[in-house]
């Protein structure tokens, strides 16, 4: 491919990104109340999926427990707003840092575990999380089974926006920053090292990649992204409780990255739309057994596009490019 073609592709990409952003900002003024809440949740899930995709898609470590980091992020926000009177916007980066540290510390011993064994270890984390949040000696902080109720923030600087609109725009801004960070990180030497470890760990090590460092770092960064997503979701829902962060959330996150496209940035967005809306749609199709519908949709999707939405789009693009040679 000539450099000109690369230029035109990246220009098309920039244009579509700008269009997407304009559309997303425009949604603030079109969508109302509950729709805006749903849009905010899609943004929060997209950030969380981005985190999981960095670990599973780019670094090859399977995690069935990212719901736990989502919960940690949400609870960091909840506890800081409730007990430390911290401003909502300051809790989001704090949640990221807290999850970065915990994720790194979890990633360190998990280095010894690979594939299914790592899946089990993270699975254990997801199972333990609601029980730990309900644990009676932590109740003073976490509020036990009742959880914590939060206040919705007002728009600052006298902007003519209601609370829902402001929370949505705020989340969108955070998402743009997070996607930008992820994009740069994955393009850098660090990203190349992460992918090298995924493709052939031993060869990467022989080339001088510090596997241990990059693997635990990927875990930390991934947890940080997911934690930021969790923090945003807590602000949007205005409530955190142990039972919002069950095993099912962790499984949904994994489903999200696979449906969106493993090892792609944009897959996070499609995956987030899927896990937000498909369960609701399934309920509309069949009230009696909505999850059976969901399961069937999931299996059919995997039949039709094993590489997820992004995989399918790439396939279409490459057949199209092959048919019309320039």
């Amino acid at each position: 491919m000539t450099s000109r073609a690369t230029d035109s592709i990246s220009r098309a990409m920039w244009l579509s990104m700008a269009a997407l952003l304009v559309l997303a900002v425009g949604l603030t003024f079109i969508a109302k109340g509950y729709q805006l809440f749903q849009a905010t949740m899609v943004v929060a899930y997209a950030i969380a999926l981005l985190g999981l995709n960095m670990l599973t898609g780019y670094n090859g470590q399977i995690s069935l427990g990212h719901g736990a980091f989502f919960a940690m992020g949400a609870y960091t926000t909840g506890i800081l707003m409730e007990h430390a009177d911290m401003a909502y916007w300051a809790t989001v980066p704090t949640a990221g840092v807290v999850c970065l540290c915990i994720g790194y510390l979890f990633g360190r011993p998990a280095l010894k575990l690979e594939g299914l064994y790592l899946a089990l270890a993270t699975f254990a984390l997801a199972v333990a999380m609601p029980q730990l949040l309900k644990y009676k000696h932590l109740e003073a902080w976490t509020g036990g089974v009742q959880g914590i109720v939060l206040m919705k923030p007002d728009a600052p600087w006298g902007l003519p926006l209601n609370q829902d609109q402001w929370v949505y725009l705020f989340s969108l801004a955070v998402a743009v920053v997070m996607f930008w960070i992820a994009h740069n990180l994955l393009q850098s030497g660090t990203g190349r090292a992460m992918r090298a470890i995924r493709d052939h760990g031993m060869a990467a090590e022989a080339m001088g990649v510090d596997t241990r460092h990059y693997k635990s770092m990927s875990f930390g960064v991934s947890a940080a992204f997911t934690g930021v997503g969790g923090a945003l979701s807590a602000i949007a829902v205005q409530f955190v409780s142990p039972d919002s962060f069950t095993l099912f959330l962790s499984i949904s996150l994994l489903v999200g990255i696979v449906v969106g496209g493993v090892g792609t940035l944009w897959g996070a967005l499609y995956g987030a739309v899927f896990i937000m809306f498909v369960p609701n749609l399934a309920e509309k199709v069949s009230k009696a057994a909505p999850w059976a519908v969901y399961g069937v949709v999931l299996i059919l999707l995997m039949f039709a596009m094993p590489g997820g939405v992004v995989g399918l789009m790439r396939k279409i693009q490459s057949t199209w490019a092959a048919r019309s040679p320039r």
């Binding site: 599973t56 399977i62 011993p109 010894k112 575990l113 690979e114 299914l116 064994y117 899946a119 089990l120 270890a121 699975f123 254990a124 199972v127 333990a128 029980q131 730990l132 309900k134 644990y135 031993m202 060869a203 499984i251 994994l254 489903v255 990255i257 696979v258 449906v259 493993v262 009696a288 057994a289 909505p290 999850w291 059976a292 969901y294 399961g295 069937v296 949709v297 999931l298 299996i299 995997m302 039949f303 094993p306 590489g307 997820g308």
Partner: protein, 290 residues
């Protein structure tokens, strides 16, 4: 002391059930290197079928046999219809298909049979001679059923030509095809066997935990842990691991942390074991050629 003994023995009984499900997981893992996350829900569904047959007035053993056969057929059909088309798909997509199967069976069971908790009878009379103060007759029976299944499977794989063919297909599909083994049929058979084993495990656990759609979620988790602790590529290890997890869970829950946190603590311990011995107690150390 008596309490300790009692808890250990009843841990062995639940361990027998974990061992059976772990065995089903190992069956499928050996053949395809996939973990069937839907195994527990399939077993739960089978148990509901048995319950329905019992409600229709069938005798216990007739219902038992019919359920095992039906589970075999259904599981083999799932392999043929759902799993086989995915054989070239990325690993994670297959995992998602399993998750899809899990929610389908869960939801169908709730829809067809309801979410209310039901009683399920035990085939072992409460006053049978092998029951005692320390272990109920059902607990002893469940352990024996698990051990019999292991023995049967072991002899099937070691002593019959079909078992040999199945092992060959799992180990090297291409070479097996060259000597005339139908690998696809072997995979179907493996899935069918796993489905049947799961059905037996479900019918053994239902009298203890009662029958409802959520019955197997915890069991699957422990079975998974048991299989990994014993070594996922080793049926004997899986059974041993299942028993270890059962006893551990019971003792920790009773004497150390209480029932609230027992799941977490058991899992943390399991992860701890895996960090020391990454391929399980009896698992083969994987050596890769560079």
């Amino acid at each position: 002391m008596n309490e300790l003994l009692h808890q250990t023995l009843s841990g062995l009984a639940t361990g027998g059930i974990y061992a059976s499900v772990a065995l089903a997981l190992v069956m499928i893992y050996q053949a395809t290197h996939d973990i069937n996350f839907a195994q527990g829900e399939m077993a739960m569904f089978s148990t509901f079928v048995a319950w329905m047959l019992l409600q229709l007035g069938w005798s216990y053993w007739a219902a038992f046999a019919a359920t095992v056969v039906l589970s075999f057929v259904v599981a083999a059909a799932i392999e043929w219809a759902v799993i086989r088309p995915m054989h070239n798909a990325p690993e994670l997509s297959v995992v998602v298909v399993f998750i899809g199967l899990l929610v389908i069976f869960h939801s169908l069971a709730g829809w067809l049979f309801g979410y209310t908790i039901k009683q399920f009878p035990s085939p072992f009379a409460a006053d049978a001679w092998y029951g005692s103060e320390l272990m109920s007759a059902h607990e002893v029976g469940a352990i024996f059923v698990a051990l019999i299944m292991v023995a049967l499977l072991f002899s099937f794989f070691r002593l019959t030509p079909l078992g040999l063919a199945m092992r060959a297909a799992a180990q090297n599909a291409t070479s097996s095809r060259l000597v005339g083994i139908s690998v696809g049929r072997m995979l179907m058979l493996g899935w069918g066997l796993a489905g049947a084993i799961g059905a037996v495990a479900g019918m053994m656990v239902a009298p203890v935990v009662y029958l409802d759609p959520n019955m197997m979620t915890g069991v699957l988790l422990y079975a998974f842990a048991g299989a990994l602790i014993g070594g996922i590529d080793n049926p004997v290890g899986a059974v041993l691991g299942g028993f270890i997890v059962g006893v551990l869970e019971n003792l920790l829950g009773t004497f150390v942390v209480g029932t609230e946190l027992k799941l977490s603590v058991a899992l943390v311990l399991i992860v701890g074991v895996l960090i020391v011995r990454p391929s399980g107690l009896l698992g083969k150390k994987i050596v890769t050629r560079v």
